[in-house]
């Protein structure tokens, strides 16, 4: 199969995925509103935490701005999983398996909608950060890097959602895994820098949790400027997770298409 044919396949499925995602306000609106609502509440409710010695900024809004990007990506995981599960439950995937469509085209096409949603989220959150906060310390290039990192994070969680859906074939299973994604966010450096976490076991979990590094990559651009180590760790964790989840989803898709 030629490369152009593959691109056509990816393009067609990507178009369907993007349209399907954007046509569902129930998928788009909560993924924007809830992270922003939590940001608004947290930034005002936890402002006094910035008085702790060693806290990296005097504005909790600036510190917490990284959270919506990851939280939005968690919604993406749910959306990606639910979409794929719907395709399985409705028999769409079975019909596709009878065509000469390539697996990679199917997977990339399915994830395109999530990337479109991730882009909308990232642009919205950057705009909110600029409008209501003290701006992005790393400037316009930094804002672009935030959007790029945010897309990789969305892809990573989207692939995990797709993997769960392909393995289980059930939307209910995807919903059941959703709390675990939130656990990953809560057990990270979401609310306070890792070196200020007092409880030892929590600090250890946060140190091993890749979500901590995704948050810190975005956070470094917002409050510090350019920090190569934080960015490298952020991209490595998000990219690594995306690759592992993509491989898992691809393998699960192969099994499912053989079954079909």
């Amino acid at each position: 199969m030629s490369r152009s044919s593959l691109l056509v396949q990816v393009g067609m499925l990507a178009r369907r995925s993007v349209v399907r995602t954007l046509r569902q306000p129930a998928m788009v609106v909560p993924s924007l509103v809830f992270p922003l609502l939590l940001l608004a509440i947290n930034s005002s409710g936890l402002e006094s935490v910035t008085r702790l010695p060693g806290f990296p900024t005097d504005s909790y809004f600036q510190f917490a701005l990284a959270i919506p990007f990851v939280q939005g990506a968690l919604f993406s995981a749910n959306s990606a999983g639910t979409n794929v599960a719907n395709d399985i439950e409705s028999g769409f995937l079975n019909r596709l398996s009878l065509t000469p469509l390539r697996r990679v085209a199917l997977l990339m096409g399915q994830l395109a909608g999530i990337l479109a949603l991730g882009l909308i989220q990232a642009l919205t959150f950057v705009a909110v950060g600029i409008a209501f906060g003290e701006g992005i310390q790393a400037g316009v290039p930094g804002a672009l890097v935030i959007v790029a990192l945010s897309l990789v994070i969305s892809l990573a969680f989207g692939c995990i959602g797709a993997f769960v859906a392909l393995r289980s074939g059930s939307g209910e299973a995807v919903q059941g895994v959703f709390p675990l994604f939130f656990a990953a966010l809560f057990l990270s450096s979401m609310a306070i820098p890792r070196d200020l976490i007092e409880v030892h076991w929590f600090q250890t979990v946060a140190d091993w949790n890749p979500v901590s590094y995704m948050l810190e990559g975005i956070r470094s651009l917002v409050i510090e400027g350019w920090n190569g180590e934080a960015l490298a760790l952020g991209f490595a964790c998000a990219g690594g997770l995306a690759l592992i989840a993509l491989a898992g989803a691809s393998s699960a898709l192969r099994t499912r298409m053989v079954r079909a």
């Binding site: 909560p30 608004a40 509440i41 930034s43 005002s44 409710g45 936890l46 402002e47 006094s48 935490v49 008085r51 702790l52 209910e172 919903q175 059941g176 959703f178 709390p179 939130f182 656990a183 809560f186 057990l187 450096s189 979401m190 609310a191 306070i192 200020l196 976490i197 007092e198 409880v199 076991w201 929590f202 946060a206």
Partner: protein
């Protein structure tokens, strides 16, 4: 009714896990991650941050135990079960009472799990037995308020699509209170919202019971009882609405 709902809850992981796990996540994330907050100048809660957060999570678990029961009611209407039930029941108020009993048992189970985890994590209770009775009575009143509110919504709209209409007001009520720091340390618009939020009184009274220093007890009970009382009327209106289409 209560047994049926409890059985469904216990045997359906998709219903059981989120209602148990979310309050636990909140507790571990905030008691663990934010424990340093008790070093912030002006933080004056002697039993410590774990106990401070426990009061909120207790309130959250009891409230959301009620809200999640509203989801079950909506699901029963979608499946047609609730309509058949209403045709068969001689006293339909018993249906609402059954759902409330189920909500109470759900909340009690969740609170038991959270309390066990909190004790392991270092929950420090300075209050005596009477204080604890006061604390858990407030939790029961908030549970009644939440389930009656959710019942009113579910019986009027009769669809799972009504989920956000049940969840969002409860979420705002709880999170626009002094969740992570005492009221005096709140700043900005959340402080303004907390000053008029009835949940602030309930939360502060609950923390007072835990600290062995009861505070704002009467206003808290009046507010919690008033919320529960108002939602009795709201739920009764919902029941009438459901009866018209049954």
């Amino acid at each position: 009714m209560a047994w049926r709902n409890i059985h469904k809850w216990l045997t359906n992981p998709a219903m059981l896990l989120p209602s148990l796990l979310f309050p636990l996540f909140f507790f571990t994330a905030f008691a663990g991650g934010l424990s340093r907050v008790d070093s912030v100048p002006g933080f004056d809660f002697d039993p410590g941050y774990t106990t401070f957060i426990y009061a909120f999570v207790l309130l959250q678990a009891s409230t959301f135990g009620g809200i999640f029961t509203g989801f079950s009611i909506a699901l029963d209407f979608e499946s047609g079960f609730a309509r058949r039930l209403m045709l068969g029941a001689t006293r339909r108020g018993g249906i609402v009472a059954g759902y409330w009993l189920a909500a109470l048992m759900r909340a009690a189970a969740t609170i038991a799990v959270i309390t066990a985890v909190a004790v392991v994590a270092g929950l420090n209770v300075n209050g005596n037995g009477i204080d604890l009775v006061g604390l858990y009575t407030l939790a029961v009143l908030m549970n009644a308020f939440a389930v009656l509110f959710a019942t009113g919504v579910a019986m009027r709209l009769r669809t799972m699509q009504a989920g956000p209409a049940m969840q969002t007001p409860a979420f705002l009520l709880l999170f626009l209170a002094p969740v992570w720091v005492p009221y005096d340390l709140l700043t900005g618009w959340v402080r303004a919202a907390a000053s008029v939020n009835p949940a602030t009184l309930v939360l502060e009274a609950g923390r007072g019971f835990l600290a062995g220093d009861p505070t704002k007890v009467l206003p808290a009970f009046v507010v919690a009882a008033a919320l529960a009382g108002l939602t009795v009327l709201w739920a009764r209106g919902g029941l009438r609405s459901a009866e018209r289409v049954a």
